[in-house]
Every structure is written in C-alpha cells, then in structure tokens.
Symmetry: C2
Subunit: 331 residues, 2 copies
C-alpha cells in the first residue's frame, strides 16, 4: 500500500507509492503509457470492462452500469495513489510521522469519444462534466475520513499517461500543503481586514484590468499578479464561495462556459500545449467558510522548472502576467 509520509521540517506530506520491481534504469526517460487506440483505450465507450466498476455515470436510461450508453463516467483509478479502505494507520517512525495512504483516487472520463477534448465538445457536455464533479464530490464529502478533495486535470503528452480526455478526483485524509498555505494566508488577511483576500483580489483586478482575460457576471478569469509560470490563469467566482461542490445551476453553466473559453483561447494561442488545471476548494469543514474562496488554476506546461525553483520555492517567470493576459484576451 502507498504510504503517506510527512517531512518533519516542512510539514509537507508526500505519497511514497513504489511501483514494485522497478529498476533504476526504468525511471530514465520512461515514455508515458499512452494507449492511443480507441480499440484498446480503457476510457473509450465500449471498453468499460477494462476499468474498475464505475462509481458514477451519466448514462441513457435503460443502459446498465459499466456498459456503453454514458456521456460522463467516473471510476477508481486502476493504479491508485490512495486507497479507500483500511485503517488510517497513523504512526510514528522514530521522530517521523507516517500513515496509510487512505483516500479516494478516481478518474472522470469527460467524453466517450477518444479524440474529443474539453475545448471542442459542446458547452452542454462541459456542463455535464461539472455536474458530475459536483455530484461525486457531494457523495465523497459524506465520508468523515477525508479532509479535503481536489480535481486535477493533466492534459497532453508528458503530463498524462492517457490521451483520452479525463480528470482525476483525489480525496485525502490530510490537507495538502499548498491548500494549508492558502488557508493560512487568507485567514491571516481575514483576521486583519475582516474581508476575504480573494474577494479583495477580484476587486483589485477589476479596478485595473490589465491582467483580466475574461469576465462575466459569475466568474473572473485573469493572470495572477505573481504568476509563477507564463500564461498561468485563475478562474474564480465573483461572489464569495468557499465550496466548489455547492455551486448552483447558474454557476455550473457559467463555470463550464468560462472554462471552455479559456481552454479554447489557450489552444488558439499555444496550440497543442500540455496543461494542468487544479481545483482549489475549501477543506471539508465549515471552519473555512468566511475566508476561503474556491478557484481553479490553469497552468500550460511551457517552461522546464529547473533546480532553482524546486529548492528555493522561488519562481522565475519569463512573461509578465499583463502581457500574457493581453495575448489571451486577444486570441
């Protein structure tokens, strides 16, 4: 079973998930496993038997689970980094802390057809994907073992093992470090100002719109002031909303729309660039309601991160967010 281990200085949890029998030479330049043939792709309609049983699917009435007939489908990852059953196994190992890697790791297939992408499917299909996320997260939330969940999409060669359009849902028994940091920063700001820092950032960006890419009554998309990467983007609801999973119907439609607009702009501008997006939503607790504000980060994989960034947490971005936003607005 994979193990969660905590760095004693940084208090950062790492999943140690050894793949059995791997030799050092296996790590070198290992090309990602990409079954790019709809006949063998486990995510394609008709190949449902190649995946673990589904946990949620939107499917035509009259069709059975794990059969064709679906338009969005969720199932446990074949090779999970966290497993849903067993004891949490919190333990001290000398001065170190570890626990079993208990959690949820599922795959959401965003469209039944192999070569479709979130950019070119219908707006309705993107909306269905968002509904499926919401519905599945509400279900996972009932399990008191998990403190936080994320939605992560890795798209493109080098960042994903599969070409078929999909995302990951990950629920964890701990709060990931980056989210802890956002909580710490936004809580401190709230204590000082009695305002949500993200709400203030939205007001700030709207007052000087150089970094804005797109806006509508429900959402704002912009390149953050201290972007770490070229064309880094954030989508955030304009009104204060801590929890992604409680978003209402208007916001589902609005979010689907702005997400697709941004992905299309990115494709127009940067062509088939690999990218990641990740949902930052409040941990599963009312404690964060006042000061956490859910948002999505989208990061195109343009630059190599060299040692400087790993070691220092100090990023060098060769493109200003103002320039990036201008390119994206105009594309």
């Amino acid at each position: 079973m994979p193990q969660l281990r905590k760095d004693p200085v940084l208090k950062q949890w790492v999943i140690i998930s050894p793949e059995r029998g791997r030799r050092p030479s296996d790590f070198k330049n290992s090309p990602p496993h990409t079954p790019d043939d709809p006949k063998t792709c486990p995510f394609c309609e008709g190949n449902e038997k190649k995946t673990p049983p589904e946990t949620l699917a939107f499917r035509k009435s009259g069709t059975s689970p794990n059969e064709p007939g679906w338009w969005v489908r969720i199932f446990p990852d074949q090779d999970p980094i966290l497993v849903p059953t067993g004891d949490s196994g919190r333990m001290g190992i000398g001065m170190f802390d570890a626990m079993n890697s208990i959690g949820i790791h599922e795959v959401l297939v965003e469209v039944p057809q192999h070569h479709q992408t979130l950019q070119n499917v219908s707006p309705d299909q993107v909306r269905e994907v968002i509904w499926a996320f919401k519905q599945r997260l509400l279900e996972i939330k009932k399990n008191p073992r998990f403190k936080h969940f994320m939605i992560v999409k890795n798209s493109g060669s080098g960042v994903s093992s599969f070409t078929h359009s999909h995302s990951h849902i990950v629920a964890t028994p701990i709060i990931p470090k980056r989210i802890e940091e956002e909580i710490d920063g936004s809580r401190e700001y709230f204590h000082y100002h009695d305002r949500c820092i993200y709400c203030d950032i939205i007001r700030q960006e709207l007052s000087q719109p150089a970094r804005i890419i797109h806006q509508d009554p429900f959402f704002l998309a912009f390149c953050p002031f201290a972007s770490r990467f070229p064309f880094e983007m954030m989508i955030i609801p304009v009104s204060h909303q801590p929890f992604f999973e409680t978003l209402d119907s208007d916001h589902v439609t609005g979010f689907a729309s702005i997400l697709q607009i941004l992905l299309k702009k990115m494709e127009l501008l940067l062509k088939n660039i690999p990218y990641n997006f990740i949902l930052h939503t409040s941990p599963i607790s009312e404690a964060y309601r006042d000061f956490f504000h859910w948002h999505i980060e989208i990061i195109p994989k343009l630059t190599q991160v060299a040692g400087f960034e790993w070691g220092s947490g100090f990023y060098i971005n060769p493109l200003s967010p103002e320039e990036a936003a201008k390119f994206l607005r105009e594309s």
Copy 2:
C-alpha cells in the same frame, strides 16, 4: 529590469523577468540554448571575453583577470534574474507588493575544459570549487542589502542552457519561501525541544541506517524520509553548522569528497541523467544560528512533475527512499 512580486495569499516571491519581444510561439518546446562547441562556449578557457568581467577567479600567478590561466572562475550572469545596482524600489501596487529585482546572479565555472564534469575532475578541483563558493559568499555577505544566498547547479539537457560544467550563485533581498519554511519548521522544533531538528534527523538516520548512502566523520549523505522525488539526496554536516560559508578546511575537503562520491554514484546508477543541486544555508543573520543547519539537496530529474504537485504541494514519489538509498549505496 526584472521585478520581484509577492503572491498576497502564499507570500511567495516570484521574479517576473520578461524577455523582450518574445511571442507566445517562442515558449513552445523552446530547445535550451546549448553552445556545445568549445570554440564558442563562453565558459571555456580562452573565451573569457565572451562573459562579463570576472568577480573572482583562482588563476596561475602572473596571469591577468579575464585572460586564460584560471581553474575556477566567477562572473555575473549574462542574462541575470537579479541585478546588483539600483534602488530596492519597494512598492505597493494596489493591494500587491513588489520591489526591484536587486541581487547578485553570478556563474561559477567549475573547470576550464568543456567536457569535464564534477564527477570526473580531480578531488583537488572539486575542493577548489568549494573554496571559490566559500570565498565569494563571504564577500557577498558584506553587502547589507542581501538577506540570503543560494548555490544552484542545473546539470544536463533540459535543465541547463549550457553544457559546460557550472553553477549559479544567487543572492536575494528576501528569504526564499522554501528557506522560510525550513526556518519556521526548525525554529518551532527548537522552541519545543531545544534541539536542532536537523541534528535530530542525523541521529535518527544513523540509528536506522536504511536511508543512508554514505557517511564519514564530517558529513552524512542520505535519502530523506519524505523524499519528493526518486533518488532525492541530502548531504549535511554531522556537526551543527548553520552557515555554509564559514566551513573550515577539513569540512571543505570532506564536502568536496562526499559530493563527488554522490555524483559518481548517481552517474553509475542513472547514467547521464540531468540533475540539480541546491545549497540551503542560513540567511545572513545570527538569528538563525541555533536551529538552522546547512545542507545540500540533490535531485535527479527522472520524473515529470504533473499538475497534481504544482497545485497541491503534494508529491507522489514512485520509489521509496529506502530502496533508492540501497541502489545508491551499492553502486
């Protein structure tokens, strides 16, 4: 001039260093600039005129600065991310914080010959490199504008623009986030235990040596308990030492030796793998003396970091540090 900008939530400084005239298409798959010909390589002996004037060189007596005759040479980076002169320019931009990117960014060329590496030069040469680092850092330390410095080595294709063996020296007016986090964690531990956490980690690793790669009376090399990456390594002085730049002659020799041993082991095991190393030393202040303990992180670039890690700060390592240490010990 590049600008330092602070993320208001994460309190993370980012260097925005736009390269003028770059178009979006320039970012895609841009191959690193690698002048792999000793005739044109600016780091080769004989090509001193292709670099800014040297700030330090160890050279044969009778030779002049910026001429051949050196064995280690330091000069400002041609394309610096921080510049040494000018006003700090601390400013508020609405709710955001920024400052001019004041600092030192220099290159240390580790050997005059183009195809040599730290693995295959003489132990004496590695020692000279360490002396040069120490000497240059002691000089930089006199400048009260800088709070912290780092040594960063990016080696190999995809992580460095130059193939000729070199490192970077970077002095900053702020303390990088990762170092701040190490300070916070080690200070908290010290307040609780009245002991340096790194000293305790050393004792812990020595008591159960599964993660130890190499040890001698002065240094310990091991794979950290919560390694983020396969074959991640740490070298740390066994005795409590906050400041790299004050290391004595025995430790210079000892550090050169263990560094070369580890790089050789890594080469034997992983062949020409790109790697980074980064020095974590105390900020330039006596305030950290009791609880900070300098160390070097070495990270071979074997795995692609996907969106999960960027967005969450939550790393997945497919090789346990115990297995990694075993492979490295035996190679």
